[in-house]
Symmetry: C2
Subunit: 341 residues, 2 copies
């Protein structure tokens, strides 16, 4: 049960612990004869280094933590995959955790008994943690934030340009000639500002086109889930003058909206065009494939990991603001059947 230690191997091979360590790590020069003898003992005892001990001695674990609100939200799952890949390229492994969108759980992470000390760094996609709470903790392990901005310029931060992205999505709908473009996903009172940035982009698009925003077409949702998208869409359809297009603040909302539209017998995009955000894989395969804003997830993950690792190395302590690229992908939900998957 108990693992084999360097001591066991040393005893077996009749050498010092240090020499075994040298063989294992290939550090100091060891004669071929001795190396062979030690190797035999290593194999016979099936030695595996105790990484905890190694970590203690070296002061680092080679692990970073990725904390997202919900792992089964496709966007976060896809992002997690990219972060894992990016970290692996640097020899790091990633521990993924979810907060269930619970602010207390986010705070727990920063608290005294947090397991966070096990990690060399933290990539956090925050939901409700405030800047002050984060600053309290700032002198601990390095943190990189994803998505939410949280106050201005105190932490390294990676995100797309939400205003521009939302503006482009809305403009795309306006360019199709739609004049009653709804928005689903506003969160005027939330801590996070992502939704507000997107609303701002939505307004900008109207302003630049010289059009009025129809305030009654802006729908607030507490979360970005399918069900809420469907419900918001139903409310929009019940309006005396329903929209002819919808910009949803993420793909799940959009897929929920599509579901509601289909059930209501509306044709997409003829009656109502739909745009989402995130470019989750699911959107490509929905019955009406989904036009969306695709953030470059791989790039987001790479930049986040790079920044974090630099901060861990102490190569740079400065907090940086990184804007990752995004692009509009047009599919059937705005372009009709004439577009491939």
């Amino acid at each position: 049960m108990a693992g084999t230690t360097l001591r066991d191997v040393a005893k077996r091979a009749n050498v010092s612990i240090r020499t075994v360590s040298n063989v294992v790590n290939g550090y100091a020069p060891v004669s071929d004869e001795l190396r062979a003898r030690v190797q035999v003992a290593l194999d016979e005892l099936d030695y595996r280094p105790n990484l905890i001990a190694r970590n203690l001695k070296q002061g680092r674990t080679g692990m970073i933590a990725l904390v997202v609100p919900e792992l089964d939200v496709p966007y976060f799952a896809e992002l997690a995959r990219e972060v894992i890949t990016a970290a692996r390229a640097h020899g790091y492994v990633v521990m993924v955790d979810q907060t269930d969108g619970d602010g207390d759980r986010e705070r727990e992470l920063l608290g005294r008994d947090s397991r966070a000390t096990m990690f060399d760094g933290l990539v956090l996609s925050p939901l409700s943690v405030t800047a002050d709470e984060l600053r309290e903790r700032a002198n601990r392990i390095p943190i990189v934030l994803l998505g939410e901005h949280i106050y201005h310029g105190n932490f390294s931060h990676v995100a797309i340009d939400n205003v521009a992205a939302a503006r482009e999505a809305t403009t795309h709908l306006l360019d199709l000639g739609r004049r009653r473009v709804a928005a689903i996903g506003d969160q005027p009172y939330a801590t996070g500002e992502t939704a507000q940035l997107r609303t701002s982009g939505y307004r900008q698009a109207h302003a630049r086109a010289g059009l009025e925003v129809h305030e009654e077409l802006i729908m607030t949702t507490s979360h970005f889930h399918r069900r809420l998208g469907a419900e918001a869409m139903e409310r929009l359809l019940a309006l005396p003058d329903p929209p002819d297009a919808v910009f949803c603040y993420n793909d799940l909302l959009a897929l929920g909206a599509i579901r509601a539209l289909t059930r209501a017998g509306r044709r997409i995009p003829e009656d109502v065009a739909v745009v989402g955000m995130d470019d989750i894989e699911e959107g490509q395969y929905s019955t009406v494939s989904l036009t969306t804003i695709a953030p470059d997830k791989a790039e987001i993950a790479r930049r986040a990991v790079d920044t974090l690792l630099k901060s861990i190395d102490g190569t740079t302590g400065a907090s940086t603001e990184i804007v990752a690229p995004h692009r509009l992908i047009v599919r059937e939900s705005t372009a009709g059947e004439n577009v491939g998957t």
Copy 2:
């Protein structure tokens, strides 16, 4: 930068290191006066225990690893969420990793320099690792397998009854009066036997109904992804005598199939009824909501974690075979519009 240690706090409060440790852990009795003094020092220096050191001393980390082929496959993401929740209930945290369905990466996990020694146990959803490879490693940290059986009865293992589940899904289609029921997802040559079990259930259903299996309607796919489901469906539709129902070995295949059917102008379920497996959330919101076999993911996660922790405690060393419950959920893809979401 360097963390505050017990030593620092001890010096500051003019007490022994051991006493500080006692205060932190609330172990031995400490007078109120001293406790207060130490607490002040703890707060002033913002002490956080070094978990790595604690782990080394205690021989456990309080972390388990969950390894799945792909994190952005909804089933695994949803399962990961449940495992995280189940582990948290026992005070454990979960590190999630993905192997990209790459056998080498799975093997790497079991190899000499694996980070696996950092964990108290491992929940593994294997893809191509063999029984022998696993046994080699068996005397290391405890392992619980999910899904794939891998040889018989040497490791604790949690899964649904795949044969019964597939039989029920197929029977449901036959009961609707369908007589050309296709199967998408067979993997006759794969290491894993899950697909084979499902094919076996599919055949059983036909046998029990006294019907012949149409061999040309069994489609093999290398993976369980949407695209492959769509492609398989297209091939089925190209047959001289296409199917009037499809049983897909997971929901992603089914959603791909639905997509292909819709593009081909077939009505669901009137022309072709579709059943999937896994009950991923996405299936509830597809334009035609998806009838599926729902494995009890929460139960799978709970049983897997419970079994693993027992094995870690040494409470039981025996390997157990756990069959988790499942049920058929009928939605529009087989029942038409008369069923709610």
